[in-house]
């Protein structure tokens, strides 16, 4: 393996962007397309759907409460007579937006911390990684809910809290990669040539850890969306009155004994599709960007 890497090295042109070979591997991966298609479909459903389906998700109609799916209300209505289809549409908006934005924030934060930790070394490194380990060692829901109770949640605080409690995994992986990149010959050559530390970081280290960062970010997406859903289910996530899939499932639990299956089926399935598509994409990205997996494929 060692030999093949050194032999392949001259053929790979230096570039700031991610390798085209990896990009091609990603675009050739069926899971990438399936995942992407599901996510795009869900996004269109949630963001474009309401433009064509003009039924309010929060308008109350007591006289048609609790009706099962019918031609008039495709997904039925809830206990207040609110149209379930419209609620599922709107329920995806805040949910996907907050989930994706916080996953990106967590990944950027994690990459930054990982870079700093791996590059600075010494006390900074030890302190940062100690903090990361602590976050990784406890159930994320515990700090998340404590923060949530203290800083009352809206979309913005939710993103901050989610990012603040989810960065450690990315930072750990990025740091490990920084350490290996730092030991490479081209970094030593740059040091010998008198390059400044910021230049080495920007020009040599950062481009080479981007794929690790991307892989862990795509993995982070599923985690963040799941934890957001779990917190929302427990009543601590995105605030009402706007519906979101998880709190819709939570609301439906009171009526389980009444057999109102449509109330938890639609939002739950929507969330499951989102989660599975995120996993598909994460798997595709990991396999495309992981050099070991590439070697196995070729």
């Amino acid at each position: 393996m060692q030999a093949s890497t050194t032999m392949a090295a001259p053929e790979v042109p230096f570039s700031r962007s991610l390798g085209s070979r990896q990009r091609r591997a990603l675009l050739a991966h069926p899971l990438w397309w399936v995942g992407l298609m599901i996510i795009v479909a869900l996004a269109v459903f949630s963001f474009v759907g309401p433009l064509f389906y003009h039924v309010s998700p929060i308008a109350v109609h007591p006289y048609i409460s609790d009706s099962p799916p019918s031609a008039h209300h495709l997904f039925g209505t809830d206990v207040l007579g609110r149209d379930e289809l419209s609620r599922v549409m709107w329920g995806g908006q805040g949910f996907m937006l907050v989930g994706f934005v916080s996953a990106i924030c967590a990944s950027v934060l994690g990459t930054g911390v990982g870079l700093l930790s791996g590059f600075a070394g010494g006390l900074t490194d030890r302190l940062l990684m100690r903090v990361a380990d602590i976050f990784l060692g406890i159930p994320q829901l515990v700090p998340l809910l404590l923060f949530d109770v203290i800083f009352l949640p809206n979309d913005f605080t939710m993103i901050v809290i989610l990012a603040f409690t989810s960065w450690p995994l990315v930072s750990r992986l990025v740091r490990a990669e920084v350490l290996t990149v730092r030991a490479r010959d081209y970094v030593e050559a740059a040091v010998a040539a008198g390059a400044s530390r910021p230049r080495i970081l920007r020009r040599h280290v950062l481009p080479n850890i981007l794929s690790t960062s991307l892989v862990s970010a795509s993995g982070q997406l599923g985690q963040t969306v799941l934890i957001l859903a779990t917190a929302s289910y427990l009543g601590f996530g995105l605030p009402p009155p706007n519906p979101n899939w998880a709190s819709m499932v939570a609301d439906s639990t009171q009526y389980l004994t009444g057999g109102n299956w449509w109330l938890f089926l639609a939002p739950g399935l929507a969330f499951m599709f989102l989660q599975v598509s995120v996993y598909f994409i994460a798997d595709a990205v990991r396999e495309a960007f992981n050099p070991r997996a590439l070697q196995g494929a070729s």
């Binding site: 100690r130 380990d133 602590i134 990784l136 060692g137 406890i138 159930p139 994320q140 829901l141 515990v142 700090p143 809910l145 404590l146 923060f147 109770v149 203290i150 985690q223 799941l226 934890i227 859903a229 779990t230 289910y233 427990l234 009543g235 601590f236 998880a246 499932v249 939570a250 439906s252 639990t253 389980l256 004994t257 057999g259 299956w261 938890f264 739950g268 969330f271 499951m272 599709f273 989660q275 599975v276 996993y279 598909f280």
Partner: protein
Amino acid sequence: MGRYLLVRLGEAVVTLLVIAMAIFGLLHLIPGSPVYAILGHDATPKAVAQLNALLGLNLPIWDQFGRWLQATLFSAQGGQVLTRLLPVTLELLGFSSVIAFGLACVVALVQVLHPRSLADRVLTALTYGFYGFPAFWLGLVLIWLVGLELLWLPPNGWPGALQPGLGSWVVHLIMPVATLALTTVGGWSRYLRASIEEALQADYVRTARAKGASERRILVRHAFRNSLLPLITLTGISLPTLMNSVIVVEVIFYIPGAGAGFLQALDGLVFSTATTIAFFLAVVTVLGNVVADACYSLADPRIQYN
């Protein structure tokens, strides 16, 4: 190995101390002061000072932390969390992780033994599917389907003083543990499968093959056994994530464990209880990780810790 475990335990204690400090610091982030909350905002400065002294809020922050930690660990409340709530949570966590571990082994072995077969495809689809189920939703679907429509199992609850006995305990445990195990097994089996496939490329497999060992024997005795090690590590690492699900599952199934207690305390803004439980939940996962490390070093005789 004993020495290594001692070192790991020492690290865990330090980690837990830092977590305790963080939780204590969090308490100070709560807006408002307990003194004004008790006395009202038109309290006289004298009354405020008196109550501050009574509650120990005039002490240096380190003394306050010590008192808080003592109260968390050794008070009647801490004792209740430890003896009543945590055992239930540990039961769920323990059973579900063991069952998920076993299921992951079975799934991965079937998939590697019969690649591209119908069983492989069905299992792949199922593990992806269950992996996508959030615990709160799978739990609800089970409650609705098995508990309320089919009436096979009690939809929720926990055998307390009302329904003692082994049968009642098992019956109440099945659905929560199934929820936890099924939502966990997907990630583990996929990981195990990948590491078995990687192990099959190893030199010792080639050697075994050269010596004429059967494929099944190579797979089970060589590749599989060596792949179990990373799975043990993964199990340890996954404990906090599994604990997230345990918290939710306790809420869904009305199980009187630490997770449900935590949420109840948060809902009622009873911060002393919430932080006590939060700390004990951290204790469980941090120590669980040490246990996983111990299992790892037991399972792998090559590892020498000095």
